[in-house]
């Protein structure tokens, strides 16, 4: 199997998952609206003082992004598992790790990327300055792929398991803690004038680590689930 055909297979999986999502848009949109609604509820619960909202904005946006990603994890492998596609992937001449990486990238394009692009609009509700909005978007762009990569391991482990949907949150949310700390921390550091570079570099380091280990662990977990 040459390198070019591996990339061709990777591209094919991404295109396929995007095509399937286009045919069934409601799945993607539900997650997005969940994100919007959760973020908008916080001012109602806390009160409209702008100084307070500005202070909690990074945390609120990031926690909401975590929860929205969690919600979308179930559809990552469940449908392919149910209709036998996952078995075919596991038996493909293309290494399963490559196909899994493609699925995770597609998952991020359909959940993390829209969240990151939507976040500045919601940030305006919390009176964030333009500079901080930029940092928020960058932190989400680097951080949400990590969420997809770690989440894929959880989704694979709970595949076809009783109460898998709730269980996946129990497994994955504690592992999301570092991303939350440095993601929200980046925006906060920018707000307090400390500069967000350190936080963002650490997030990038997490991304490198997750990109290396995540697909491997997901592949092992999927083979266990299929057995």
């Amino acid at each position: 199997m040459g390198e070019t055909s591996l990339f061709a297979a990777l591209g094919a999986v991404i295109r396929r998952d995007l095509l399937l999502a286009m045919r069934r848009k409601s799945d993607v949109l539900t997650t997005l609206f969940f994100f919007i609604i959760v973020v908008s509820l916080f001012p109602l619960g806390i009160g409209p003082e702008m100084a307070m909202l500005r202070q909690i904005a990074p945390g609120v946006l990031w926690v909401a992004a975590l929860l929205a990603t969690m919600l979308s994890l179930n559809r990552l492998f469940a449908a392919d598992h149910a209709d036998g596609t996952l078995e075919q992937m596991a038996l493909s001449a293309v290494p399963l790790g490559v196909l899994v990486t493609g699925k995770v990238i597609a998952h991020w394009l359909l959940s993390g990327l829209p969240l990151a692009l939507l976040a500045p609009v919601l940030g305006l509700q919390f009176d964030l300055a333009t500079g901080s909005l930029g940092v928020l978007v960058v932190s989400l762009l680097i951080g949400t792929p990590v969420l997809s990569l770690i989440g894929a391991v959880g989704a694979a482990l709970t595949l076809g398991v009783r109460g898998g949907g709730v269980l996946v949150s129990l497994l994955v949310l504690p592992l999301y803690v570092p991303v939350l700390i440095f993601g929200a921390g980046a925006v906060e550091a920018d707000l307090t004038g400390l500069g967000a570079t350190a936080h963002l570099s650490l997030l990038a380091a997490f991304l490198a680590l997750a990109a290396f280990f995540g697909p491997w662990a997901t592949t092992v977990a999927l083979r266990i689930a299929l057995e």
């Binding site: 199997m1 055909s5 061709a8 297979a9 094919a12 999986v13 396929r16 095509l19 399937l20 045919r23 069934r24 149910a82 209709d83 036998g84 596609t85 078995e87 075919q88 992937m89 596991a90 038996l91 493909s92 001449a93 293309v94 290494p95 196909l99 299929l226 057995e227």
Partner: protein
């Protein structure tokens, strides 16, 4: 079921060979079969028969490497399939109960995408040709959602025509197929065997194959 002597079926020698030795399958706490050995050579077909729950699907999944036998080993060309991994999967085509057909994709998209996922992309003309051969002319661009169960099965079976694989492992390929489709499928399998391919399959119905090297394996 206990088969002490390995059975050997086939005509052409010095070709890759599928060999199962002393397999045991355990489901829950029950041993479904043990001491199962057979050899399958080029041009040969193995029909696995047995009642529901006798371990037919489990055996087929073991042959694919999806499940591990509790005991015993499966070898392809003398090498354990665990070690061969992708190399073996490149020789293998498995068609299970679930057809891996996506409701939201058209018949044509399903055929092309499953070939690509298997690592053997095909162009549109080849995919259309395969769909026509299986009697889906005029339905190539309909979403699989609106197709009947038999038609969806045919979409799943286009992989037999599109992926060039030496070993076919087919679990109940006749399910939901009508008479004409069964005849077509038998023709496809016969052509595969005549060209030196191998097949392992299960079926509750009779499969009127013309091939002569068909062995029966009963799991009871």
């Amino acid at each position: 079921m206990i088969l002490s002597k390995p059975r050997s079926v086939g005509v052409v020698h010095n070709c890759p060979m599928l060999e199962a030795s002393n397999l045991e399958c355990v489901r829950g706490e029950k041993s479904l079969f043990r001491g199962l050995s057979f050899r399958l050579e080029a041009g040969a077909c193995l029909m696995v028969q047995g009642a529901n729950g006798s371990g037919k699907t489990s055996l087929l999944r073991m042959l694919c490497g999806l499940a591990q036998p509790a005991q015993g080993e499966i070898r392809w060309d003398g090498e354990p399939i665990r070690k061969l991994a992708e190399e073996y999967r490149g020789e293998l085509l498995y068609c299970g109960h679930a057809g891996a057909v996506k409701d939201d994709l058209t018949a044509l998209e399903n055929a092309r995408i499953s070939a690509t996922l298997a690592g053997a992309p095909v162009d549109e003309a080849a995919a259309r040709q395969a769909l026509r051969q299986l009697g889906l002319k005029g339905r190539e661009d309909l979403p699989a959602r609106v197709l009947s169960a038999g038609q969806r099965r045919r979409v799943a079976l286009t992989r037999l025509l599109l992926e060039k694989r030496r070993l076919w492992v087919l679990d109940e390929p006749l399910t939901a197929l009508d008479k004409a489709a069964v005849a077509t499928l038998c023709g496809v399998i016969d052509a595969h065997l005549a060209a030196g391919g191998m097949a392992v399959l299960t079926s509750h119905q009779d499969l009127p194959l013309a091939a002569t090297h068909v062995a029966q394996l009963r799991l009871d």
